[in-house]
Amino acid sequence: MSSPNNLQTLNNDTIIDLIGNEPIKIKKFQHEFLIQSASSLKEIVNYFNSNDFFNIKESAHFLKTSAKAIGAERSAYFLESIEEQCLVNNKPAIKQLLIKLNTELKAIKSELRNEEP
């Protein structure tokens, strides 16, 4: 992943390539991702407030797996960047990435809402 500008908020082809073109299952997994990301983000913010860089990295890595799987390319990019910044304890950079990630997760939510009939 080189730059977030070339990436999509939600690339549906990724999940179709993974589980097949099954709209009901895709909706289910996307909905589960929204729930998982909300709780993971909360967890990451708590670790951030206590300077627990190891656990920030662990939680970011965990969420990155499902972000990649549902095709949330920009979110996965920010999560991977958070992992990298955790290795050098760069708290200001992590803060900026968390803000971007939060915005991106909101964008996914709104994109999914717009897709609803």
Binding site: D17, I19, F29
Partner: protein
């Protein structure tokens, strides 16, 4: 935010020594969660005199490198500026951890801690606690440490308490038996006619009976720790068993007319079983569905320890496993699979991100048979699995 001024307390129990305040920002935060009785001293010309006046009990040397920390500590000891039974901790970067370990092995420092990068928060708090214990000033810390860890799973907490009570009662029993053996020996000694026989019994006791009792105590302690571990996983195993019982007998198999004919003539082939080990439940479910749709029988677990439980009970045709797992990672779980149980020869396929190629390479040396890059496509996943199963 706590006040990290140079002399924040007149006689703080804990003193952190550093060249720059930003170097120890994280360390300060961690210690401040544990106690207020600490200060941070930024090294200047007056440092030696300041340290002498502060008279800390626990000193953390977090200078820019280990060599500078050793030099400073040597000077402090040489000039007799520290209290006699102080507790010294060397803070170092990861690349200097070997040197720090050597310093502790030689007993120059009492302990060391890698603070760059700063990962093991609780270990630092444990080191501070050990240091304060030397001065009987650790009771406040116990409460604060308890508060820090009290958010953990209630079930695990109760299992730990249960394990500890088992351990205490067994140690009590061992001590009782030891007292009985000693009194029995004493009785025998009293009855013996001469000193030579008494000496023989004493030697026998010291050289054979006591080591045996110590070994027994150690062995029981180890077994208890294993018991606590297995209890921790009993709940998740029960849940998996219930899930398994609720599944239909032939999931995902729709028989066509043609296959009905085939069943009349030959025995039905058993589905190939796959153990899927992945902590992210969304991705795990996705892969599980991909595999089930192809007629594989899939069992799912979310960490390495649960996988080890499974491999002890069942033989699988293939194990598909994530690299980063809670409790025990993919690499160490594979090492275990290759050494113990029914799956020594079962192929293991790694699920891994693009960034972990070096780790996958290392993993390959311990018996990895293939790997799938996350997230991958259905086709790539099935091709890899079918290739390995051939």
């Amino acid at each position: 935010m706590k006040n990290h001024n140079r002399v924040a307390k007149r006689h703080p129990s804990i003193l952190i020594l550093a060249h720059k305040e930003e170097d120890v920002h994280g360390v300060n935060e961690i210690i401040s969660e544990q106690t207020d009785d600490y200060s941070c001293l930024i090294i200047k010309k007056t440092a030696f005199e300041d340290i002498k006046q502060l008279a800390p009990k626990v000193l953390l040397f977090a200078l820019s490198d280990v060599k500078k920390s050793i030099c400073m500590y040597n000077q402090l000891i040489k000039r007799n500026y520290l209290i006699k039974n102080h507790y010294s901790v060397l803070l170092c970067s990861n690349k200097e951890s070997g040197l720090a370990f050597k310093c502790c092995l030689k007993k120059l420092f009492d302990s060391y801690f890698v603070f760059q990068p700063l990962y093991e928060k609780f270990r630092l708090q444990l080191i501070i606690f050990e240091g304060l214990k030397r001065f009987d000033s650790a009771s406040d810390c116990i409460n604060s440490l308890n508060e820090l860890v009290q958010n953990h799973d209630k079930e695990i907490n109760s299992q730990i308490e249960l394990g500890l009570s088992y351990k205490e009662s067994l140690i009590e029993e061992i001590n009782k038996s030891r007292t009985e053996v000693n009194s029995l020996n004493k009785g025998l000694l009293d009855q013996l006619p001469d000193d030579i026989s008494k000496k023989l019994i004493n030697d026998l006791n010291e050289e054979h009976l006591q080591p045996l009792l110590n070994a027994l105590e150690h062995s029981i302690s180890c077994k208890l720790l294993e018991l606590v571990d297995s209890l921790k996983h009993s709940k998740s195993l029960n849940n998996q068993l219930i899930q398994k019982l609720e599944q239909p007998i032939f999931p995902n198999k729709e028989l066509s007319n043609d296959s009905n004919l085939a069943i009349n003539s030959i025995e039905p082939e058993l589905p190939q079983s796959i153990l899927l080990v992945e902590d992210n439940h969304i991705y795990r479910e996705m892969i599980g569905e991909v595999l089930s749709s192809q007629g594989f029988e899939v069992e799912q677990v979310d960490d390495g320890l649960a996988a080890i439980k499974k491999i002890k009970q069942h033989k699988y045709n293939l194990i598909l496993m994530d690299l980063f797992l809670p409790n025990l990672d993919g690499l160490n779980t594979t090492k275990h699979i290759r050494n113990v149980g029914k799956n020594k020869l079962t192929p293991v396929v790694a699920l891994s991100g693009n960034k972990n190629k070096q780790l996958v390479k290392k993993w390959a040396n311990h018996g990895l048979d293939g790997y799938i890059l996350k997230p991958s496509t259905k086709e790539e996943i099935l091709t890899t699995i079918k290739k390995v199963l051939k």
